[in-house]
């Protein structure tokens, strides 16, 4: 989450390799930059979170600060931002300034899309690169490479939050849902526990057909088939519940769900997700029909005690809370 803020360096050693490239010339030694006075950081005598910048880093950012202060919109300023971003792709000021220059010079968006794509490949968990990509697509109105790009990134990390966010934005903005359910199903075949893919499934259904009765049945069947194969997969259970939130009678009454419970019962399933589901079903019944409370409350309580003491003891406080709650609501 503090995603980029948490991207601390892996080692404490400095890396001087980049200064040894034979072709690199410091900006301060470039005659075509003679007219610019670099702006050095002067933070006073007492260092506070003071970074031991390499010479190259200092040089580039001294010139970047100068350019921003004079608001220079030029080709050389543009190239300077490329150098700056190579050193710190998380510098949002440089990205924002680069966008100003891109607009000012009316630069080619396709080339810029290639530029940011390369940085995304190297830094797929960086906020700025994905936002930049989104802005470019907004400007060009052309989403044609975006599904492929996110697909490639997701092939390397099927749960990359930024990639999924970008993909959702593209699908929704340009209405490109045609093949998305297929895509999701492929990912779920690869890894049935991929919660991002389950979340995407919910999104696709919500934004296309919606949760009509037919679709509810279809989605419940999908989830149930999954649960029958891998019973301890929280993603499938969460999805099941998410679908049922659209069903008029909630957790009780849908034939697909009733069949699942029967199946799990017959197979002596010991999944904590199943047991928790049973308790919630009983809560709903007790809520709507007071006559059922006398029978169901001790049953629900019994399950909660088993969960707390044996099946899922790490969540003991939660199970006991539910037990106290149900008793306070439904006893007598």
């Amino acid at each position: 989450m503090a995603g980029e803020e948490s991207k601390e360096p892996l080692s404490d050693s400095s890396d001087e390799c980049s200064d040894q490239e034979p072709t690199w010339i410091y900006y301060r030694d470039r005659p075509e930059w003679n007219d610019v006075v670099p702006v050095e950081l002067n933070e006073g005598p007492f260092p506070v979170v003071s970074i031991a910048y390499s010479e190259r880093f200092k040089d580039i950012f001294n010139y970047f600060r100068a350019i921003v202060l004079k608001n220079e919109i030029s080709e050389r300023a543009f190239e300077l931002t490329s150098d700056a971003l190579e050193l710190n792709p998380a510098n949002y000021t440089v990205w924002q300034y680069r966008r100003t220059v891109l607009k000012g010079l009316e630069k080619n968006i396709q080339k810029e899309l290639s530029f940011v794509r390369r940085i995304i490949e190297d830094h797929p968990k960086n906020y700025q690169v994905w936002h930049h990509r989104r802005v470019l697509v907004e400007w060009s109105g052309d989403p044609s490479s975006e599904l492929r790009l996110t697909e490639i990134v997701l092939a390397q990390d099927a749960k990359n939050y930024h990639a999924w966010q970008h993909r959702q934005w593209v699908l929704d903005t340009f209405k490109l849902f045609d093949h998305e359910l297929e895509f999701v199903e492929r990912l779920l075949e690869d890894d049935i526990r991929n919660n991002s893919a389950w979340n995407q499934r919910y999104f696709v259904v919500k934004q296309t057909s919606g949760f009509s009765e037919d679709i509810i049945s279809r989605e419940l069947t999908f989830s149930v088939n999954s649960i029958k194969k891998v019973c301890n997969n929280e993603s499938a259970w969460n999805y099941l519940r998410g679908v049922l939130a659209h069903y008029t009678t909630g957790l009780n009454g849908h034939p697909v769900v009733e069949e699942l419970c029967q199946f799990l019962d017959e197979n002596n399933s010991e999944s904590p997700y199943y047991f928790a589901f049973l308790v919630d079903r009983m809560e709903e019944l007790m809520q709507s029909d007071a006559s059922k409370r006398q029978v169901l409350l001790p049953k629900a309580d019994g399950i909660l005690q088993v969960l707390a003491t044996k099946m899922d003891p790490i969540r003991r406080e939660y199970w006991l809370f539910l037990s106290r709650y149900l008793n306070s609501q439904f006893a007598n």
Binding site: E43, N91, R241, G242, Y318, S328
Partner: protein
């Protein structure tokens, strides 16, 4: 030799000293990338826990929080950072906050010269048009603004508070605000629930919040709650611990937390605690990470606060316990997340860093202290010296620091 129950070694570990039996993932014969990764982590953790138990037989005061080493690590980081920190050049106010907050939790004193130097530095990061950037001469951004304001509040001095240019801060916040009440992280920047949290916190702390700033904001946040019960960064995205914290904390500050589905949120949050490792994961079916000790852990005091106000649920609450396993979280942090040279980390094998140190300690503090309105209870795993100062679950600042700042700023209404 203490007795151990080996009968269920395959799935259940009855570690005699640990607070709760640890249960391995049941792969059910269908391994996938997700389960492979999880099994690997569980194996590493298992080794560490077994080593710990052996050591504990010789020294029952374990586990020990290596306070002095952490203080050294963090104090050094507050002044100098190596070249490899160039990647955080746009987040230097964050590094200030992470390290100051760690010192605050450890109740380590901060010398006056350091305080003055920090105040000067943060002032350099402030923009003449309001807000703070990640470093001097950088555009203002809500995240480094939040970090800078928090860092100043930790210093607990009027001199620190006074450097905040409140009128322009208000303008900066307004410039990030969208019509629908959501906030971009900076002008021309991305919109997500972090922006909302940072804006609400900063405004509330400095006493500049008003209806104009936050109209529609809680409605937008509520759209981020997912079918799983947690909150996402933007509507329709996956429920995620960091964003869920931002959402619930912001809603709480806006007085609107009752508008979300609290039961679903509670269930989701409770399920984020890992039944083998004891720490928290950020999303369903992902790996444990020390930093979620705070992002997920802090949800529980917030949920408790909300549930305690409801007629329906208040009776069922235990005033001495949060609704997660406090001891198991402490065990994960103390046994598995401490670097040998000081500082905390994500999980064993990862490098230490200031972010994980800050949020690991913050989570530890929450796990140690339950405080309701009337009563509370402290539960410290290991040496009593492991006890940290209290942290406020909304701001992640020391509670005294928060009170002092709120008193100062609320007595000085803003005239825009």
């Amino acid at each position: 030799m203490s007795e151990r129950d080996y009968s269920e070694l395959e799935t259940n570990h009855q570690f005699s000293v640990l607070s709760v039996p640890r249960i391995h993932l049941d792969v059910e014969g269908i391994p996938t990338v997700t389960s492979d990764e999880q099994v690997k982590v569980e194996s590493t953790i298992e080794h560490l826990l077994e080593n710990f138990l052996e050591n504990h037989e010789l020294d029952s005061t374990l586990p020990l929080l290596s306070r002095l080493q952490i203080v050294d690590f963090v104090k050094h980081g507050l002044s100098r950072l190596s070249t490899s920190y160039e990647c955080l050049d746009a987040s230097r106010t964050w590094v200030c906050y992470w390290n100051l907050h760690s010192l605050e939790l450890l109740e380590a004193s901060i010398p006056d010269e350091t305080k003055e130097a920090v105040i000067s530095f943060l002032n350099l990061c402030q923009s003449p048009t309001g807000g703070f950037g990640g470093g001097p001469f950088q555009y203002s951004h809500l995240a480094p603004t939040y970090a800078a304001v928090n860092a100043l509040v930790i210093l607990q001095s009027d001199v620190a508070y006074k450097i905040i240019d409140r009128p322009n801060l208000y303008h900066f916040l307004m410039s990030c605000r969208n019509e629908d009440g959501a906030f971009a992280l900076h002008v021309g920047g991305e919109v997500d629930v972090r922006g909302t949290y940072c804006a609400v916190v900063v405004a509330k702390l400095t006493g500049i919040a008003d209806q104009k700033l936050f109209s529609g904001t809680s409605e937008w946040i509520l759209k981020c709650q997912t079918y799983e019960g947690g909150f996402a960064g933007t509507p329709n995205q996956e429920a995620h611990g960091g964003y869920t914290f931002c959402a619930l904390a912001a809603l709480t500050l806006l007085g609107q937390e009752s508008k979300c589905n609290i039961r679903c949120l509670l269930r989701w949050a409770s399920n984020r605690q890992m039944k083998f490792e004891g720490g928290f994961q950020g999303r369903t079916n992902k790996l444990v990470d020390g930093c979620y000790s705070f992002w997920q852990g802090a949800l529980f005091p917030l949920l408790h606060f909300h549930l305690a106000k409801s007629d329906q649920y208040s009776e069922a609450l235990d005033v001495e316990r949060w609704l997660f396993n406090q001891e198991a979280l402490q065990e994960y942090l103390l046994v598995c997340c401490q670097h040998p040279f000081g500082g905390l980390l994500d999980k064993p094998g990862r490098p230490r860093d200031f972010y994980h140190t800050c949020y690991g300690l913050s989570g530890l503090s929450i796990a140690q202290h339950v405080n309701g309105v009337v009563s509370g209870r402290t539960s410290v795993v290991g040496s009593p010296n492991n006890e940290l100062a209290l942290t406020h679950p909304v701001y992640n600042l020391g509670v005294n620091a928060v009170m002092r700042a709120l008193n100062y700023f609320n007595s000085k209404p803003l005239r825009t």
